[in-house]
Symmetry: C2
Subunit: 317 residues, 2 copies
């Protein structure tokens, strides 16, 4: 898969020699570097987001497993251009441990690293324990903002500051209609009846906050938006980016119907949408379901979010 | 769905009053217009491809049904800027009939229309009856090329010429691992055993050329590429664009593994890849499976294919 992924980048990205990591070919000298990464099985996240104004490199783990510290450290060295490296990844115990070990390895080489973990899943922990939350589709907006900032800003301090602002302002929640499978075994990540949905499940099939009977797209949108809006909380007059992410096997038709309802809710609440993304970015193999992400924006975040970007999994004019 | 789709375009596209059609807001005066369209249920195709350097408008039918002639004619009038309109759509009996009836309606208004039908599915008919073939994922490259040409070229003649070149040089073939369903009834579009695949099936589940036992991604890639390469035929020294399109519920991991094999085949055959697209553009609801598209390129087609583009379903820097 990694070989196929490197080839699909048409020469703009290469696979690190002997390691499952993808590195952008034309990283400018003197640029603050952005390294992303995590387990495989969620394609195009993370390793499909390497490119101009996106990640400079990605460290890949096995399916649903963190990349190893030596892969992360090697990828960090490959993207480093003298200005330090920002590590951006989802908040999971395995990733935290391995990326932190890589930070220690890199200290010996005098490479400065800062870490920002995506923790956007409002279903994973109460607001007062936000930093215990899992990272889900908020990853993509975080990569987009941090990728833009790392292309334009001069110091690791400044790039970290922008990424932390985005981290504080992004909220997501998902719903699963059917489970995905583990490629090695073919087993489903959880069991769900034909007439059931799991609200708030994690990106690997971690238990959500409620198992419910199947209901309409509008009713599901209402439930997700209630939780997301109350969490930051988003307020009248706020401007947001809105992402509806396909977890694998959901039809775009369903996601567009959900979008219609979400827009009605946001209009009622006096929250305006600066940009919308509806598509497939963080998957859980063939899981059917979707997540909704809202990121509150100011002029700075809007600027970085709106920059052109080029990668296999996410490109914008 | 159409309302959710219009909203997802963040003000760049509007829904035609009282009709299921989406129109780009900022169509420049004096531009040759490109109208695309077809049945719903294949999102983001077609109506997700309206935008800069893509379609100027899209006429939408019901699920798996052609748009009606009055919708097509109304959409054509809405995109027309005095230089005529190119109709670009997939070659299906219902679409052909309804788009042709719209051409007659538009003649009464003095609007010149040319028609280019996508007929890229090599499994649908032998090469000598190429114009009887169905249009599948070749649609996307055709829209990209015609959209670029319609932005830059001055006359409908010239835009038609470029679109016909692309039509002649694009070939696709698909494989289904499981069927999609019809939203109104929940019924599957065809029956397929758990251990079976259907090679060459159409975009609505039309029968393919062979029902086979499940086999490896590499073996499936070999079979598709044998048929596609022999059809044009593609020859040593050719340069191509390569699209691997997710029909709905296939994992990107599988498509990247397929990409690895396809690149080995193309290298063996002395065919170079100018650009690669791996993602979800023409779906059949939640069908699991994928298609492979190759388009032969010259400098002119490369130029239009590589132009930046902006639409909900396909954007490039």
């Amino acid at each position: 898969m990694i070989e196929g992924l490197a080839l699909a980048n048409d020469g703009r990205v290469y696979k690190l020699d002997g390691k499952p990591a993808l590195i952008r070919k034309d990283i400018p000298d003197g640029k603050v570097a952005l390294l992303i990464g995590g387990g495989s099985g969620h394609e195009p996240l993370f390793h499909g987001f390497v490119g101009k104004n996106m990640g400079d490199g990605a460290a890949c783990g096995n399916v649903f497993a963190a990349p190893s510290p030596d892969v992360i450290a090697a990828a960090a060295k490959a993207v480093h251009r003298g200005k330090g490296v920002l590590f951006l990844y989802g908040n999971y115990a395995g990733d935290n441990m391995n990326f932190d070990m890589a930070v220690e390895l890199l200290e010996d080489d005098g490479i400065e690293v800062r870490t920002v973990r995506v923790c956007d899943d409002v279903a994973a922990a109460p607001p007062e324990r936000m930093h215990d939350r899992r990272g889900i589709a908020g990853d993509i907006y975080m990569i987009k903002v941090a990728g833009g900032a790392a292309s334009e800003l001069d110091t690791l301090d400044e790039v970290e500051r922008v990424a932390r602002k985005a981290q504080g302002w992004v909220r997501s929640m998902g719903v699963a209609v059917s489970a995905g499978s583990i490629p090695e075994t073919g087993k489903l990540t959880f069991e769900l009846g034909d007439d059931e949905i799991e609200v708030g499940m994690g990106a690997h099939g971690e238990a959500g906050i409620a198992r419910q009977k199947l209901k309409s797209a509008d009713a599901i949108a209402d439930e997700l938006m209630d939780k997301i809006l109350a969490d930051l909380p988003f307020a009248r007059g706020d401007e947001v980016a809105l992402m509806i992410n396909n977890l694998g096997a959901t039809t775009m038709m369903e996601m567009l119907i959900v979008n219609r309802r979400i827009r009605a809710i946001l209009e009622r609440e006096g929250i305006s949408v600066h940009r919308t993304d509806v598509g497939t970015w963080l998957t859980v193999q063939e899981m059917a379901g979707f997540s909704v992400t809202l990121m509150k924006l100011d002029d700075e975040l809007k600027h970085y979010l709106d920059m052109p970007a080029e990668s296999l999994g996410y490109s914008r004019m």
